[in-house]
Amino acid sequence: MQSRKLIVLAAIWAVLLLAPYWMVPLGGYTALATRVLVLGLAAMSLNFLLGFTGVLSFGHAAYFGLGAYGAGLTLKYLALSTPLAIVAGMLLGGLCGAILGTLIVRRRGVYFAMVTIAFGQVFYYIAFQWSSLTGGDDGLRGFARQPLDFGLLKLDILTDANSFYYFVLFCFALVVGAMGFILRSPFGRTMIAIRENERRSRFLGIPVERHIWIAFTLSCFFMGAAGALYALVNNFADPRGLHYSQSGDFVMMAVMGGMRSFWGPLLGAAVFVVLQDYLSSVTVNWMSFVGLLFVLVVLFFPRGLLGFFQRSRA
């Protein structure tokens, strides 16, 4: 059982490490892989909260967007350092999540979802209106990811698509590693407990609201990191990345891939991105089809792709 898990893990990493090489014959290109990786990270960060704690946050794109703007603004005004930009983005997303989390965790269910949506929109609105800082509707431009120079190791992530991909994969590995580590810890088990039966968790002595707040904050940090990386993909931060429709996309990726599975959201992101790209290239009404996709997945495939392969539970 343990060895089977290790084999699966090794296979996943092999696929990720070799992506620039097996994608090209299939008609893909490295930048697409980078995009999928970053969006997959965002979906996994959301799923940390949604799938593993059972908390429905539908405004999580806000922290993604905050990460993007944090990184962009850092590169534009503070320092020409890519690692710093990523950390800045992560901190911005995480800290805002920590603060807002205190307001939100008192409620649960649909009320919680509504409030997360509304709060997410606040940030969207700020990004839109504060155009002197954020560039408003046009988004934040005028910054670019900087080549990395660690003395012995130099990576031209600015112009070399493959270098950038591997850099992103490295960051991805760090964040995903942290996520997995936490989920396997006693704290992670309390998260799962809360998802499985909140009342029982409470009656085991778990201060549920506090634990949800911690999980929420952690997922916002991860989200911020993903957002920061996304800003670096196109050297651009988009206010639409903060809109609740972006949140909806992330939730859909998690659901499509399988919410109860750790790697599911990454798979969901891959499918969603490829599908959306394809649809928008063949029809101008791609939006209806994406909407239809949402409807069909909810009605017929709610457990997602990897849900089919989960051990069948009672």
Partner: protein
């Protein structure tokens, strides 16, 4: 030494008085059964003790401390563990995993992102010991949701025991069980009471169970404490008979 002292506890929901000035003392190591007709307020009483909601008036003293205003998880931390009429467990986790979560919380690890090898081993040992106490050690790897009703209840009790409680609150532990399972659970509770000396308060409808287990019986009727005494005394009490028979009309 009283592990639990309840003084004039009252709970109103708007105009409805669910629990009316109930007082009760539970000594250490005692097993007290709460009985009464349906709607007497027994579960509301339990909810008040375990902190599900605050009382309208009255006090609850636990181990000498006033816990009347404390939240549920704080009461649990002080040593109060509860099971529910409809079993509250983590159905899609294994028996082992269920009890492990309880054990880790009891050991103070709930916020830890990492526990070392020795501590992990200690947790494992504790889980195994708890499972042995409720005779579930052979089913440790099974999903709790797939177990028979009696075993699920035993698992729930195991989770409560893992919290190292000073007081066990068992809400209708034999609810929905056939004779065989009722016997199984009753034996378990008896063992916990006689051998391990747990202080237990339980709500029961099944009089055989009550007579088999209880040191003391308290009868609730329409929110009030109607009578307290040994099982024999209660059985002979005319007011109690009237309360039950009156309901049958």
């Amino acid at each position: 030494m009283n592990v639990l002292e309840i003084n004039n506890l009252t709970k109103r929901f708007g105009n409805l008085v669910a629990v009316r000035e109930v007082s009760l003392n539970v000594a250490k190591g005692e097993l007290c059964a709460i009985i009464g007709p349906n709607g007497a307020g027994k579960t509301t009483f339990f909810n008040l003790i375990s902190g599900f909601f605050p009382p309208t008036s009255g006090t609850i003293i636990f181990d000498g401390n006033d816990i009347t205003r404390l939240a549920t998880h704080e009461r649990v931390a002080r040593g109060m563990a509860r099971t529910f009429q409809i079993t509250e467990i983590f159905p899609e986790l294994t028996v082992f995993e269920n009890v492990r979560i309880a054990t880790e919380v009891a050991d103070g690890f709930r916020l830890r992102a990492w526990i070392g090898k020795t501590q992990t081993a200690k947790v494992h040992q504790q889980v195994e010991a708890t499972l042995k106490l409720v005779s579930l050690e052979t089913k440790a790897g099974r999903l709790v949701g797939e177990l028979a009703h009696g075993d699920q209840r035993a698992a729930e009790i195991a989770m409560a025991l893992a919290l190292k409680p000073h007081l066990l609150l068992l809400d209708e532990p034999t609810a929905g069980m056939g004779d065989q399972e009722t016997y199984q659970i009753t034996q378990l509770i008896r063992k916990l009471h006689r051998d391990s000396n747990y202080s237990i308060v339980l709500i029961e409808h099944d009089m055989r169970v009550v007579f088999h287990l209880a040191d003391r019986v308290c009868v609730l009727d329409q929110g009030r404490m109607l009578a307290q005494g040994t099982p024999q005394q209660i059985a002979a009490n005319e007011a109690v008979q009237a309360a039950y028979l009156g309901q049958a009309a």
